[in-house]
Amino acid sequence: MPIRNFYVEKCNGCGICVACCPMDVLRLDEKMKKAVVKYPKDCVACWGCESFCPRGCFDVSPERGRGELVSPY
């Protein structure tokens, strides 16, 4: 899966990753006040969460969760 590591212990529940995910992969667990990787397969590896997370909770690899890109040629 593209989100190869999510360091939940570092998460402060700020919700930025949920807000910036274009694919609705991440959600906030209101009770735990932590982000949850709810739909991991739908990640397109845009690196939004990894770039914007203030706590460095994400490690995203380049592979997409549901297949790779079509050749332009």
């Binding site: 930025i16 807000a19 274009p22 609705d24 845009c46 997409r64 079509v70 040629y73």
Partner: protein
């Protein structure tokens, strides 16, 4: 029970803005400034949504005294194919819009309180802003000024009463509620269609054009602005920087750019990631059996690599190149100073959108559009000018926001039509009624097979475009077998549907236009043909099917006349 409330949660506002990216945020702020009650919704979380936070943070403009000249240049460069009224309006508005954005708290970089202004070309200036924090800052201002907001609401269809647009249907992705928004005016600002292909454009999937089309609004320019950038294959990411082209080589290790563009090999040139000459050279080499294409930075130091990104817009591409090199090392395990990397042209997004008039209004009463979801033909068929993406979103947003608010000041409220709403909701919810045996992602990737290959979308030709349309048809058939378990799935279904619509319209309009012009190149009609094709192609729904028509460019009404 014939009560609207039985269909979902009803929320009432004057102006409903769909999509809170650059265009939608500006529309909401300006509508509020014009005393309307404004609700802004987005499928992501407002402040971090859309393309602006992950973009380059560039806002270009010309000063008002140069606006006429600028518009004249654009008009001549587009061979008079542009909507001159919009070109002049954009030219005149840009500087004011920059100041408005500064007043609204956009995160411009400043020195001693003053905006940093850089000269970017003859009479073109740019100001840079902190992109990741930009929408958060505007959001703060909008909230303070009383704009209401809802996050994680996926708008799918418009609500109509007779011919008027009276609101929209939204899926609450988190709370699982179905929303019926009743508004006096709706502004669609959901962006164009990036097909979740190029990463920067993953958030925009053609939803606005699709919902507008279903409501019988007119679309225009679908055949234009499909564009490619070049980037690093393994990352699926463009490579920002103006000198990297010098290091492109083929499988044999021969440098490629000098073969086709020797003039680029002497002196200093700025060749951006979207420069078509690079895509041309790459494609020619691959077609000659000399692919794949690599970038070879072996032996260069990190500082030298960052130097290749150098730009007049100091520091910006420099930073982006550093980021890209870091990603390569950390994510792909590639050391760019030690090994060469395969490069790919990458498809960006489709063009066109909802046709808007000089006030940002679409062809339907009560419906406005802004940003990438709209098309005002300001640049003719061209993709416009670097740095004007955010500016164009801001200006169309301000214009639509102001005029929608003025309209709501005079217009009476029309209630939601129960039967229309019921039918629309049934359509939206239909995938929840069956399990399905295809995933929505399969549809999206099938669409990639139609829109990404350059043989279909860059060197267009009738036979091959028909092949592409057959792929789109197959994708639609797959879509009919997609089911949804929850609203997340349902949203993916509707995204896939809007992508099939965008792809279909791109090729239908491209097939119709039997000439070459701007970014639209036909191998079978390689010349510009003003005699037959000095007109825009529009698409509108008639009896459930798309009908293509043409609209002559009304050049006789414009300032500059075609001689």
């Amino acid at each position: 029970m014939n009560k609207i409330e039985s269909l979902g949660t009803v929320i009432t506002t004057d102006v409903l803005v769909l999509g809170a990216g650059g265009g939608g945020m500006c529309a909401a702020l300006k509508a509020k400034e014009n005393n309307a009650d404004v609700l802004l919704i987005d499928k992501m979380g407002i402040g971090w949504n859309g393309q602006v936070p992950i973009g380059g943070g560039i806002l270009a403009y010309v000063y008002p005294e140069y606006a006429e000249k600028w518009a004249e240049n654009v008009t001549r460069q587009s061979f008079f194919f542009n909507n001159q009224d919009w070109t002049y309006q954009l030219g005149k508005y840009m500087h004011k819009s920059t100041l408005d954005l500064a007043d609204m708290g956009l995160t411009f970089y400043r020195t001693k309180g003053e905006l940093n202004i850089l000269n970017w070309g003859p009479n073109i200036y740019v100001t840079l802003f902190d992109a990741p924090k930009s929408l958060v800052a505007l959001k703060k201002t909008a909230l303070k000024r009383g704009v209401k907001m809802m996050d994680k609401i996926y708008a799918i269809d418009l609500l109509k009463n007779g011919d008027k647009v009276v609101g929209a249907i939204g899926l609450g992705l988190v709370d699982g509620k179905t929303y019926l928004f009743n508004a006096k005016a709706v502004i669609i600002a959901t962006g164009n269609c990036g097909y979740m292909h190029e990463k920067t454009y993953s958030s925009v999937l053609g939803e606005g054009a699709a919902m507008g089309y279903r409501a019988s609004a007119q679309l225009v320019n679908a055949e234009f602005s499909s564009s490619y950038v070049w980037g690093i294959k393994v990352l699926g990411k463009e490579l920002m920087g103006i000198h990297f082209y010098l290091y492109l080589e083929n499988a044999r290790g021969e440098k490629i750019m000098g073969k086709y563009y020797p003039e680029l090999m002497t002196g200093k040139h700025s060749v951006y990631t979207f420069d078509p000459r690079v895509i041309d050279a790459m494609q020619k080499e691959v077609n000659a059996g000399l692919g794949p294409i690599y970038i070879n930075l072996k032996g260069l130091s990190d500082a030298e690599i960052a130097g290749l990104a150098e730009d007049q817009v100091e520091g910006l591409t420099h930073l982006m190149a550093n980021d890209t090199m870091k990603l390569l090392r950390e994510k792909a395990g590639i050391d760019p100073t030690k090994e060469r990397m395969e490069m790919w042209p990458r498809y960006l997004y489709s063009g066109g959108g909802l046709r808007i008039d000089i006030n940002g209004k679409t062809t339907l009463d009560g419906l406005y559009a802004a940003g990438g979801a709209s098309s005002n033909s300001w640049s003719g068929g061209g993709g416009g000018q670097g740095g004007l993406g955010v500016q164009s979103a801001a200006v169309t947003g301000f214009v639509a926001g102001e005029n929608a608010a003025k309209y709501t000041g005079q217009a009476k409220r029309f209630e939601i039509d129960f039967n229309q709403a019921k039918n629309a909701i049934e359509r939206v919810m239909a995938p929840m009624q069956h399990e399905g045996n295809v995933d929505a992602a399969e549809v999206a990737y099938r669409i990639h097979e139609a829109v990404v290959p350059m043989k279909y979308n860059r060197q267009r030709e009738a036979g091959r475009m028909k092949e592409a349309l057959a792929i789109v048809k197959d994708a639609k058939e797959k879509l009919s077998r997609v089911g949804a378990k929850d609203f997340h799935d349902l949203a993916r279904y509707h995204s896939a549907e809007s992508m099939t619509i965008a792809a279909e319209f791109t090729y239908k309009a491209a097939l119709m236009r039997e000439e070459s012009r701007a970014g639209h190149f036909r191998e079978d009609f390689p010349q510009r043909d003003d005699k037959n094709w000095f007109k825009w192609i529009t698409i509108e729904q008639k009896d459930g099917t798309p009908r293509l028509s043409t609209l002559p460019v009304p050049v006789e009404k414009y300032r500059l006349q075609l001689k």
